[in-house]
């Protein structure tokens, strides 16, 4: 009955080994899908390469559906999974900043690690930038602490907040995914070809 480490089916000493293996697979898949190339990533915003949407939405949808099935079949307790806490204003600000960072740098933290791994200097510099950014944040923390912790709503899920049925939402999301893919391939075909 999952989550496994939580229910002591796998002991916690294996935790770090598991982390390593998961990271391994994660990095491999990301890189093999082309996420180590910044120009490929940014293509989603300019219409010449939609790999980000395709991988991202597929993976969220597949994972969501898999987990819901596992929960239904009794292999997993969905309510024990970690839900990201909601800090409304801080997260909105954070995601806006990150959106700009994505445009400027062409990477996101995970993909910058893959770029770093294959030797891309811009990936390395990006990761250094993240380091400095976190450092700056933590130095300034005493001043922004209050804002950072404002609007705490707890570990809210969509079910809690909007009262939607998770299954309905998962299905709706899958439909949205298909629509997004169709639209994106249409756009892709009509945008001029970019060599990168």
């Amino acid at each position: 009955m999952g989550p496994l480490t939580f229910n002591d089916i796998i002991s916690t000493e294996w935790n770090y080994v598991i982390a390593l293996l998961i990271g391994l697979a994660f990095g491999y898949i990301l890189e093999a899908s082309g996420f180590s190339s910044s120009r490929k990533l940014v293509g989603v915003f300019y219409g010449y390469d939609f790999v980000v949407i395709r991988v991202f939405i597929t993976s969220v949808s597949v994972a969501m559906i898999t987990l819901l099935y596992l929960d239904y079949l009794g292999f997993l307790d969905f309510s024990m999974l970690y839900v990201l806490p909601t800090y409304l204003p801080a997260q909105i600000l954070g995601s806006v900043i990150m959106g700009l960072g994505f445009l400027m740098g062409g990477f996101c933290p995970g993909t910058s690690l893959t770029a770093l791994a294959i030797g891309k200097i811009d990936g390395i510099i990006f990761t250094v930038g993240i380091w400095l950014g976190i450092f700056g944040f933590s130095e300034a923390y005493p001043y922004i602490e209050d804002f950072n912790n404002s609007g705490y709503m707890g570990n809210v899920t969509l079910m809690d907040y909007f009262g939607v049925n998770p299954y309905t939402f998962a299905f709706g999301f899958a439909v949205f995914a298909i629509v997004a893919f169709t639209v994106s391939s249409y756009v892709r075909r009509n945008v001029k070809e970019i060599q990168y």
């Binding site: 819901l68 099935y69 239904y72 309510s79 024990m80 839900v83 990201l84 998962a170 298909i178 893919f181």
Partner: protein, 207 residues
């Protein structure tokens, strides 16, 4: 659009729609019938009134006494420290945190032991632990603790010890049917213990 993708998309949507049509899930996993039968036969769920009396007197913190009768009956008389969960409310979510835990011992009682047995069976089936039934219910409680029978001269000393214990207990619990309101400090819903389904979320998450 290639045929292959259309096929995959349709397959994907079918998988997703499967979620919509799932029959209402089996709420919790139930324990297998054979072990349940064993538990029914084993009889080690019974707690004698003497034992319960002793534990109450000793203020045993591991006790969680549940009165499964109606609220009216509970108000007339109840064991000290008992909480009233009428049988039909036993499965409500609010009580799950108190009943489904392995810290305290849950002891069901009712007037006889029919309702308490039913409560026990219900919770046992759901896999709850540490469930007990007051042997003979309140009826037996009255006959042993509250109004103990003095043993005849031919009975052993053990019987006399038991009798003196019971007299002492009956004084502790107030004498007889009524006038027990003082002793019972009905802690209606002691909200302190909200173990609440181990929502001890995994320490960290995000990055």
């Amino acid at each position: 659009m290639q045929k292959r993708y259309i096929f995959l998309a349709v397959l994907f949507l079918i998988m997703a729609s499967g979620l919509l049509f799932l029959p209402d899930m089996k709420q919790k996993t139930q324990i297998p019938a054979t072990s349940f039968l064993n538990d029914i036969h084993s009889n080690n769920r019974y707690l004698s009134s003497d034992e319960l009396a002793k534990r109450i007197i000793e203020d045993d913190p591991m006790l969680f006494i549940v009165d499964v009768r109606t609220e009216a009956e509970y108000d007339i008389y109840s064991l000290p420290g008992a909480i009233n969960i009428p049988l039909e409310n036993l499965l409500l979510e609010d009580w799950a945190g108190y009943l489904d835990q392995d810290i305290q011992d849950v002891i069901f009682y009712s007037d006889d032991d029919v309702s308490s047995e039913q409560a026990w069976a219900l919770c046992k089936q759901l896999g709850y632990k540490n469930l007990y039934v007051l042997d003979g219910g309140l009826n037996h409680w009255f006959n042993t603790i509250m109004l103990p029978k003095k043993p005849g001269e031919l009975n052993s000393s053990a019987a006399y010890d038991l009798y003196s214990f019971r007299t002492g207990a009956s004084i502790y619990f107030g004498s007889g049917s009524t006038a027990v309101k003082s002793a019972t400090e009905k802690p209606k819903a002691k909200k302190t213990l909200t173990v609440k389904k181990k929502t001890k979320r995994v320490a960290e998450g995000g990055c």
